[in-house]
């Protein structure tokens, strides 16, 4: 029995603009923001009013239907603004930062303490928001007990941050975080690392290490769960991102919620491509300055799953990347002609780009076509390394056929697992959104 996971189907996109492996401290932002839309299915309920003083780790809002789950300020300062969108939905909770952080003292805690005490500490410090649950890809319910916890300490997405590099001087905190996680599940904590790399993780305790090889989406935690311990109906698996494990660990070791986020600024349009040490929810202007956002797409996250943000907006809660690529709002003459425009990467052989497997591409956001009905078959399976029929599952989601979705494996997937499927799709259908809506339907109908 081997713990290795080998992925064959998938697609590694080589893009221009990788971040240089140096870390610098980003200048402290004037304002930071926590964005409730980052937490899917959470209905935020504010506890503070605008103008209130907060310390790092003080509660800002909680989840209306699971009030134990609280969301805290990453910095100390003043609650500046609660920005609302349509139907008064809270979009951003903006905190004006003090010159230096003062932390709320939670006190040290042994990761192996009583589970309830540990859970309460994670909840009150806002660290619970880092723990994600499969199925449904939402924040975990503290009342559940997961059968296993997965941490993917690697990245294969295009231009994604190097996890080992980010964690290089946080390994103690990471180990403490893993210890805490192993306390939360009767099962195992699975940590996956890239095969041939990840020396730093070799000595990790209280976790089972999996060496993963293969193209993207090999590093997607969903793929690893599917290979190691697939989710059946009624089971829960939790997942935590690697830097968040370290934040949890640091909370237990020092008693402080230090929401430090190392962000790789990448993409062909980024000028200063390196890793920045900043805080969760930092203002992106402090990392990239002002860019012309008609011509440049600013993505909080990677190019396949990230969120579009504008100048002067804020980093998302989870991602370790800030990607800048050119907007593709230009026409192309006779774009349908096969074997032309080979500078656009393509998984299809109607372009010659497959002849240059080593070439790095500069990509833009053009859709390269228009939305059509599903016609081409077989292309989705090529980039889907799970024992799941992607097209059939997507169609079941579109038809809102709950029984079929269940049968075809909706519990095992998250929208990010379909990012590549969406990328290669000839008919340009918004597949990640379809899966998200399918999962939302399951939450309301099955729960």
């Amino acid at each position: 029995m081997s713990n290795d996971i080998r992925i064959k189907r998938g697609l590694t996109l080589r893009l221009k603009g990788e971040a240089e492996k140096t870390v610098v401290d980003a200048p402290r932002s004037k304002t930071y923001a926590i964005k409730p839309p980052d937490f899917h299915a959470v209905m935020p309920k504010m506890v503070l009013k605008e103008g209130a003083k907060v310390q790092a780790g003080d509660e800002l809002f909680f989840s209306k239907y699971t009030p134990e789950i609280r969301f805290t300020s990453p910095v100390s300062g003043t609650l500046l603004e609660i920005k609302r969108g349509e139907k008064r939905r809270i979009m951003e909770v903006i905190v004006e930062a003090d010159a230096n952080d003062s932390f709320r003292e939670f006190g040290k805690l042994d990761p192996s303490s009583d589970v309830e005490v540990l859970k309460e500490r994670l909840l009150e410090s806002g660290c619970w928001a880092f723990i994600n649950q499969r199925p449904y890809d939402i924040i975990a319910d503290p009342k559940d007990t997961p059968k296993a916890i997965f941490v993917s300490a690697m990245n294969t997405a295009p231009l994604s941050a190097d996890v080992e590099f980010i964690l290089q001087d946080k390994m103690d905190a990471f180990q403490a975080g893993i210890n805490a996680l192993s306390n939360l599940t009767p099962g195992k904590v699975h940590v996956s690392i890239a095969k041939g790399k990840g020396e730093a993780f070799k000595g990790l305790k209280n976790a089972e290490i999996h060496q993963v090889s293969g193209p993207h989406p090999a590093a997607n935690v969903g793929v690893q769960i599917h290979k190691v311990d697939p989710i059946n109906m009624g089971e829960f698996v939790w997942t935590v991102k690697p830097e968040d494990v370290a934040i949890i660990g640091e909370l237990l070791l020092t008693g402080k919620y230090n929401a430090q986020r190392t962000v790789a600024v990448t993409g062909s349009e980024a000028k200063d491509r390196k890793y920045f040490r900043t805080k969760i929810g930092a203002n992106v202007s402090d990392l990239i300055g002002k860019v012309d956002d008609d011509q440049v797409r600013i993505i909080s996250g990677d190019v396949l799953t990230g969120t579009k943000i504008g100048n002067g907006q804020y980093l998302g809660f989870f991602p370790n990347e800030l990607t800048l690529i050119p907007e593709g709002n230009k026409y192309r003459v006779f774009g349908w002609m096969p074997f032309t425009y080979n500078n656009i990467p393509s998984n299809s052989r109607t372009s010659l780009s497959w002849l240059f497997p080593k070439k790095k591409y500069e990509v833009n956001t053009n859709l390269h076509g228009e939305e059509r009905a599903f016609v081409v078959t077989g292309e989705m399976e090529e980039v889907m390394p799970m024992d799941i029929y992607p097209m059939q599952l997507v169609k079941a989601c579109m038809a809102a056929d709950i029984e079929k979705m269940e049968n075809l494996g909706i519990y095992e997937v998250a929208p990010e697992d379909f990012a590549l499927v969406e990328y290669v799709n000839t008919s340009k259908i918004e597949i990640q959104e379809i899966i998200r809506l399918g999962l939302d339907l399951m939450i309301t109908e099955v729960g």
């Binding site: 029995m1 713990n3 096969p338 656009i344 299809s348 053009n366 859709l367 097209m391 000839t426 918004e430």
Partner: protein, 394 residues
């Protein structure tokens, strides 16, 4: 180019949302997006997208059809001229054939695209590109002498009943091009089979030797063609079905570009070979057989529309099986049934059309059973509580 773009942008204005001609925007968009891939950018989900789109895929199939089409223009002229004069000039033959075939293509595209545009405007969606291929396939699989009005009616039937009635491109159950042929076959049988229809202007000739090979065999006559003729395609038949050599070239192009499923093509060939071998083995088993059963299996692959059908029609992704395993089963049965229908049913000397249409109908059933296996694995996993914990290579 910039100048054309500016003109188009100006021309586009009345078609925009809320303007006078908004209803007709699908028709305008079809032309605009043909000239320029639009400047749409991603809004949700993946921020970058693959360079491929449906237009590219369909044009690739058209490219794969071109060599066969050009050859058939020559062959059509040649089959006619060789019966009226001793020497046939290459260009003369090509010219004669082109004059016969081009009007068929024009009629097919004009009628079919007209209906597609009308439905797009009526339903308010963009024009799908599927008909680019269908519209070229239909004239290529008809007998050369088919009156143009019959061709037009077949196209109308195929597009409206075969495709739009089911919801348009991507939703049809039967291959639209074969639907057109099947319609013509049953509605106008005298124009679709027999001795006289495979050579142009046959009625003007005194005595025609224009039987297809399968037709001759079914009638129990000796055939006068060598295997090499069948391979190259210098034989009478439907417009473009004759040249196995160029169809194989097209197949290689489709497989290399991954537009056509190599699984379907290969498994269909295997199916046809298996059936052919079974029939060829009959004499050894003490059954006498007839001209058709004793026709060598490799010749079965070369004559009739089998090769053309499995390369260009069976691979139609919409009407074929959608799962990988399903494609193997679907293809195998097409080849197997084609040869079986040929041999057993003297009313239909060529079986590939009916075999593909039959398997089109059964493709969803095949997929259903393939997917059921996947569902059963999932149920079993839950029941037995197996924790794989092993490397599973997919």
């Amino acid at each position: 180019m910039e100048w054309i773009r500016q003109k188009l942008d100006k021309f586009k204005k009345p078609f925009a949302k809320g303007e006078k001609l908004e209803k007709y925007s699908p028709a305008y968009n079809a032309i605009d997006t043909f000239l320029f891939t639009p400047n749409h950018t991603t809004r949700k989900g993946a921020h970058i997208r693959d360079a491929v789109d449906l237009k590219r895929v369909m044009i690739t199939v058209v490219l794969a059809l071109l060599p066969v089409l050009l050859f058939s223009m020559w062959n059509t002229g040649y089959q006619y001229l060789k019966q009226v004069q001793p020497e046939v000039d290459f260009w003369e033959a090509f010219g004669h054939g082109a004059m016969e075939i081009l009007p068929m293509i024009v009629v097919s595209y004009a009628v079919g695209l007209g209906i597609e545009f009308a439905f797009a405007i009526f339903r308010g969606h963009d024009v799908n590109e599927g008909y680019l291929v269908t519209g070229l396939l239909i004239p290529m699989i008809m007998p050369v002498g088919l009156p143009l009005w019959m061709l037009a009616i077949s196209v109308v039937f195929a597009v409206i009943i075969g495709k739009e009635a089911f919801g348009g491109t991507g939703m049809n159950i039967l291959n639209p091009a074969l639907t057109a042929r099947a319609f013509a076959f049953f509605a106008y049988p005298t124009y679709m089979s027999g001795n006289g229809v495979w050579v142009m202007n046959a009625s003007d000739l005194d005595a025609v030797s224009g039987e297809t090979i399968l037709g001759s065999l079914a009638a129990g006559q000796e055939i006068s063609y060598e295997t090499m003729d069948m391979f190259m395609g210098v034989i009478p038949g439907s417009v473009s079905e004759t040249s196995a050599a160029l169809i194989i070239l097209g197949a290689l192009f489709l497989i290399l570009t991954k537009v056509g499923s190599w699984r379907i093509i290969l498994s269909s060939l295997i199916g046809a070979v298996v059936m052919g071998l079974i029939f060829n083995a009959l004499p050894a088993l003490g059954v006498e057989g007839n001209m058709l059963t004793n026709f060598p299996w490799y010749n079965h692959l070369l004559v009739g529309g089998l090769m053309f059908g499995i390369v260009y029609m069976a691979t139609d992704p919409v009407s074929a099986s959608q799962t990988t395993k399903g494609k193997w089963i679907y293809g195998f049965l097409i080849g197997f049934l084609s040869v079986m229908i040929r041999v057993f049913n003297p009313a239909y000397p060529e079986g590939v059309m009916l075999a593909i249409l039959l398997m089109n109908v059964f493709a969803p059933t095949i997929d259903h059973y393939v997917i059921s296996a996947n569902i059963k694995r999932r149920v079993k996993r839950k029941k037995e509580g197996i924790n794989p914990q092993v490397k599973t290579v997919v």
